[in-house]
C-alpha cells in the first residue's frame, strides 16, 4: 500500500506540471515526454555510472527534463490551443518512437532497469529504501506544491496566467508572450520530470510506455479530476486515480479502462470543478450554514 502512495505522489507531482500549464489556458497532450526523459535520464546515469548515488541520479534526471523543457519550449511556446496540444503530442510521440526503435541503446519496449541506488552512499535494502522513497516523494510533493502555488501568485506567475485572458495587452505591457509562456512551460517540464524520476526510482524499471500519449492524456485527466488549476487538487486527484485504477484492474479485470472512462465522464459532467470544486462548494456550504446559524 505504501508503494502505491509513493507512486501516487510521484504522479501527483507530474500532474502539478499540467495544472500549472492549465493556468495559462493551454493543455499539453505530450507532457509525458518530460516524465519519460527524466526517468530515462536516471536509467542512463545508472547504466553509465553503476555506483551512482540516488542524489546524482535524481538531479541528472531532473536536469535532463528541465533542459528538454527549455529546448521544446523554445519551439512550442509560440503556439496556442489545438496546435500547442498537438505539437507537444508530436514531440512525445517522436521520443516514444525513438525509445521503442533504438533497441540496442534504450532496451526498446522492455525498457531499462533502474537498479536500487545507494542513498547518501548508504546501501539500503528494499523495505527501508521504499520507506525512504515515500518520504522523499512526500517532501518533494509538499515542497514543489508550495513553490508552485507561490509562483502562480508571484509576478511571473500572474503574467503567465494573463496568456489565458489577453495576450495582446501582455504585448502592450512590453512583455513577450513567448518568454512569459517559457517560464511556466519550463516549470511544468521540471515538475513532470520530478514525477518521472521518482516513479522510475520506485518502479526500478522505465519503459517507453512512460512517454505514450495515453499517459499524457491520463495526466490531463487527473489534473481535471483534481480541479483544473488547483495544485493540491493534483496530488489528491493522483491518489484517487491510482487507487481507482489499481482496484479497477484488480477486481474488474478486463474492463478497467471502461471503469476509468465512466469515472472521468461523471467527474466532467457533474463535477467539472473537480475535487477542488467539490471541496470549495462544501466549504462555502459549511461557511454558509455557519453564518445562517449565528
Amino acid at each position: 500500500m505504501q508503494v502505491l502512495l509513493t507512486l501516487a505522489l510521484a504522479k501527483g507531482i507530474a500532474v502539478m506540471g499540467i495544472t500549472v500549464l492549465l493556468r495559462s489556458g493551454q493543455v499539453s497532450f505530450g507532457h509525458a515526454l518530460f516524465f519519460a526523459i527524466a526517468a530515462y535520464g536516471g536509467a542512463f546515469t545508472l547504466m553509465l555510472m553503476p555506483g551512482a548515488d540516488l542524489i546524482v541520479v535524481f538531479l541528472l534526471g531532473l536536469i535532463a527534463a528541465t533542459l528538454s523543457g527549455v529546448l521544446v519550449g523554445l519551439f512550442v511556446a509560440r503556439y496556442r490551443f489545438i496546435f500547442f496540444a498537438m505539437l507537444n503530442l508530436a514531440f512525445s510521440m517522436i521520443f516514444w518512437s525513438i525509445l521503442e526503435k533504438f533497441y540496442h541503446y534504450t532496451g526498446g519496449a522492455d525498457g531499462m532497469r533502474l537498479p536500487r541506488p545507494t542513498v547518501l552512499w548508504i546501501e539500503m535494502e528494499r523495505g527501508t529504501y521504499e520507506l525512504f522513497m515515500f518520504y522523499l516523494s512526500l517532501a518533494m510533493a509538499v515542497g514543489l506544491g508550495w513553490f508552485s502555488m507561490r509562483w502562480l501568485e508571484s509576478p511571473t506567475g500572474q503574467l503567465f496566467r494573463t496568456i489565458k485572458t489577453n495576450e495582446t495587452r501582455l504585448q502592450y505591457l512590453g512583455m513577450s508572450p513567448q518568454r512569459v509562456m517559457m517560464n511556466g512551460y519550463v516549470l511544468s517540464a521540471m515538475l513532470c520530470g520530478t514525477g518521472g524520476i521518482l516513479m522510475g526510482l520506485v518502479q526500478g524499471v522505465v519503459t517507453p510506455e512512460y512517454a505514450y500519449w495515453i499517459r499524457s492524456g491520463e495526466m490531463v485527466f487527473i489534473a481535471v479530476l483534481g480541479g483544473a488549476g488547483s495544485v493540491p487538487g493534483a496530488l489528491v486527484g493522483a491518489a484517487i486515480y491510482e487507487i481507482v485504477r489499481t482496484y479497477a484492474s484488480a477486481f474488474a479485470g478486463d474492463v478497467w479502462q471502461m471503469v476509468l472512462g465512466i469515472f472521468l465522464l461523471i467527474i466532467i459532467l457533474f463535477a467539472p470543478g473537480g475535487i477542488a470544486g467539490i471541496y470549495n462548494t462544501l466549504m462555502d456550504r459549511i461557511a454558509g450554514t455557519k453564518e445562517r446559524g449565528e
Partner: protein, 301 residues
C-alpha cells in the same frame, strides 16, 4: 534508389495515404465545425472495421455472393455514424459545448477508453481477418511486384471521390453550406438563425460515419485486433493539426504527404517509419503555425 523503387514507394504511399485521408477527413470535419478534437474517432474507426468484418462473415455464411462484402462496408459506416455518432453527440457532447476546451477533449478521451473495452467485450481479443472484398478484386503486377487492386486502385479512387464529394456537399448543398458557415464563425451563423444544434448533430454523424467508413475500408487489408484505434487516432491528429482547422483539402494533401513520407522511409531508412508523420507535422507547423491551409485568426482590437 532507382526509378523502380521510387515508383514502388510511390504506389505504396498513395495506397496508404488514401486510407489515412478517409479516416482523418471525418476528424477534420468534426474539428472544423465543433472545435472538438474527437479522441474517440479512433474507436469509431476500429468499430467500423469490426462491424464490417462481422457483417461480411454473416452475409457470406448466409450464402450471399462475395460481392455483398462491399455493401456491408457502407451499411456499417452508416450504422457507426447514426447508431453511435448520433447518441454520442446528442447525449454527451451537447452538454459540454460551452465548457472549457480541455473538458471537451477529456470527454472524448473518456469515450475512447469506454469504447476500447466495449470492442473487446463484443468482439473478444482474437484477431479477426475478413478479406473477401480484397481477394475478390485480385492483384495487378507492376515491376515484378504484385499489388492488390483493392489497395492500389480502389482505395485511392474512393478517397478522391470522397474529397470531391465532400467539397461538392459542403459548397453546393444547403446542409453543406450550413456546416461551412458554422465552421467559419459559429456566433455569426447562429445570429442569422442557423440552428447550431442540428448542424452539430449532422456534422458529428457524418464525421463518425466517415471514421466508420475508414475502418470498413481498412478491415479487409488488416487483422482487426484491440489497439488499432489508438494508433490510427494519433495519426489522424497529425493530419488534422498539419492541415489546419477544418480544412478538407488540407487533410488530403497532408495525408498524401504522410503516406508518401512513410513509404519512402521504409525504402530509405526503415527505422524512422514511425517517426515520419510527427516529423512532418513539426516541420509544417514550424513554417505555417496555423497549419498548411489554416488562416491566422487575427485578433480584432
Amino acid at each position: 534508389m532507382n526509378l523502380t523503387l521510387f515508383l514502388l514507394a510511390l504506389f505504396d504511399g498513395i495506397a496508404y495515404a488514401a486510407l489515412v485521408f478517409i479516416v482523418a477527413v471525418g476528424l477534420t470535419l468534426i474539428f472544423g465545425v465543433m472545435r472538438i478534437l474527437n479522441v474517440a474517432h479512433g474507436s469509431l474507426y476500429a468499430m467500423g472495421a469490426y462491424l464490417t468484418a462481422s457483417l461480411t462473415t454473416f452475409v457470406l455464411a448466409a450464402g450471399l455472393p462475395p460481392i455483398f462484402a462491399f455493401p456491408c462496408m457502407l451499411v456499417s459506416a452508416i450504422l457507426i455514424g447514426v447508431v453511435l455518432g448520433g447518441p454520442l453527440e446528442w447525449l454527451l457532447l451537447r452538454r459540454i459545448y460551452h465548457k472549457p476546451e480541455v473538458l471537451q477533449l477529456l470527454v472524448t478521451f473518456a469515450i475512447f477508453m469506454i469504447l476500447e473495452d466495449v470492442q473487446r467485450l463484443i468482439w473478444g481479443t482474437q484477431p479477426i481477418f475478413q478479406s473477401t472484398a480484397l481477394q475478390l478484386m485480385g492483384n495487378v503486377r507492376a515491376f515484378s511486384v504484385n499489388y492488390t487492386v483493392y489497395q492500389l486502385i480502389l482505395l485511392p479512387i474512393v478517397a478522391i471521390t470522397l474529397l470531391i464529394g465532400l467539397r461538392f456537399f459542403l459548397r453546393r448543398t444547403v446542409a453543406g453550406k450550413l456546416i461551412l458557415a458554422t465552421t467559419e464563425d459559429r456566433e455569426a451563423a447562429q445570429a442569422i438563425g442557423i440552428d447550431a444544434d442540428k448542424v452539430f448533430l449532422l456534422t458529428f454523424i457524418v464525421g463518425a460515419g466517415l471514421a466508420g467508413l475508414g475502418g470498413a475500408l481498412a478491415s479487409p487489408t488488416t487483422s482487426i485486433l484491440p489497439g488499432i484505434g489508438a494508433d490510427m487516432i494519433v495519426l489522424s491528429f497529425a493530419v488534422v493539426a498539419t492541415a489546419g482547422l477544418g480544412q478538407i483539402e488540407g487533410a488530403a494533401l497532408t495525408a498524401l504527404l504522410i503516406g508518401l513520407g512513410r513509404s519512402f522511409a521504409v525504402y530509405v531508412w526503415p527505422e524512422t517509419q514511425v517517426l515520419v508523420p510527427y516529423l512532418i507535422m513539426v516541420a509544417v507547423l514550424l513554417v505555417r503555425p496555423e497549419g498548411l491551409f489554416g488562416s491566422p485568426a487575427a485578433r480584432k482590437i
